[in-house]
């Protein structure tokens, strides 16, 4: 009996892990569009990296928050924007995880809304004493480049 309960507890924990990772990633877009720079940066580990290929590589909470407080993002928010992230495919290996999925930034302009950026994302996450955190998010425009496509492929070594 005790063994069965332990097995259930382990299965439950795995679902909780997946739920925590999904919710973390689902909260990125709302925080970005609300301009909540500190809360957004806190999704990352203290030494976490947010890499936007060809645009920025920010490491640490202050640098990541600065992306949200910076001119580019503030101009986007003033125009009107939506950072829509799709569902993610999640692979967990103990205290490490990878999530793959798309992001689309819609921007509002005089002629209405348009997809401004459409990108591939590969998130590497780590379990910490404070729960799951982003170690590395790589984002690259899906403009035909191999660099973006490989972010979406499974079974790559975690960074």
């Amino acid at each position: 009996m005790s063994e069965l309960v332990e097995t259930l507890a382990a299965r439950l924990r795995l679902l909780e892990d997946r739920e925590a990772i999904r919710d973390l990633i689902a909260s990125y877009g709302p925080l970005a569009d609300a301009g909540e720079a500190q809360a957004l940066a806190a999704l990352w580990a203290k030494d976490g990296i947010y890499e936007v290929v060809g645009f920025a590589q920010a490491q640490g909470h202050a640098a990541i928050a600065a992306l949200i407080e910076g001119d580019t993002h503030r101009a986007l928010m003033a125009d009107g924007c939506a950072h829509l992230l799709g569902p993610v495919a999640v692979e967990i290996d103990g205290d490490r995880a990878t999530a793959r999925g798309h992001s689309v930034v819609f921007r509002h302009g005089p002629e209405g809304f348009a997809p401004y950026r459409v990108a591939a994302n590969r998130w590497t996450l780590r379990r910490s004493a404070d729960g799951w955190q982003v170690v590395h998010r790589r984002n690259a425009l899906l403009d035909g480049s191999e660099a973006a496509r490989i972010l979406l492929a499974p079974n790559q070594p975690a960074s």
Copy 2:
């Protein structure tokens, strides 16, 4: 042993709550695009509110169903439309919950598909004898207005 099992049951229930809320919101778009007005309205509590800032505020099943059966929505369906809702960030506090996320309405026209509405959404939900129901959904275009951005910020008092 009994205590451990009770703890597992409580953790399981929290995951079930999150799953129920996620599934409820994921079913909104398919019901809207299929024109299933009654089933869509039944996602709300009897006194629930669907507020589309600057367009409509409907309270109760009959009023919400009327939005789906109304001329605006029927014209959209005749043209071809997709009510795509992104993943939601969910916060549960006992029998109340909040979910934040984006919605995009694509509309078909002579030149193909275009994003017609891109909006912020804040859902307030309540557990009832019939399961989770929407008490209030606020939707506002992400056109640069503060009204839309604040819907996506965390830690606001539930309505």
Copy 3:
């Protein structure tokens, strides 16, 4: 006590089923955009069908992989594309399940990104010894046709 634990186990299994189905569908888009034809085809049962109304009906792993390796999809990848699938509403009935949701294909071109296809999807899935697999995915453009809208309605007999 034993009965309570069995009840918990059954509830846990249902959540695991929903999680497995959600993750399977969330992995479709990343695999399509990475060009991982074999891994993508393996989401389907051996006799599974991928039906794109008005374009293709592929049955079996080889035929489904051929869609990803074919000229149409390779041209899309060379231009740059994102197969963004929205969250799905899932209904499970024992070893069968149905999932309903949207898909949007963004295509990159000289003037940036545009929504190239916006479609309704109805997935029928079956539990096998190897886990959940797709038996039938129907996809139809939401261009105003009834054929697409009915894919999104609930409570239809599984195929």
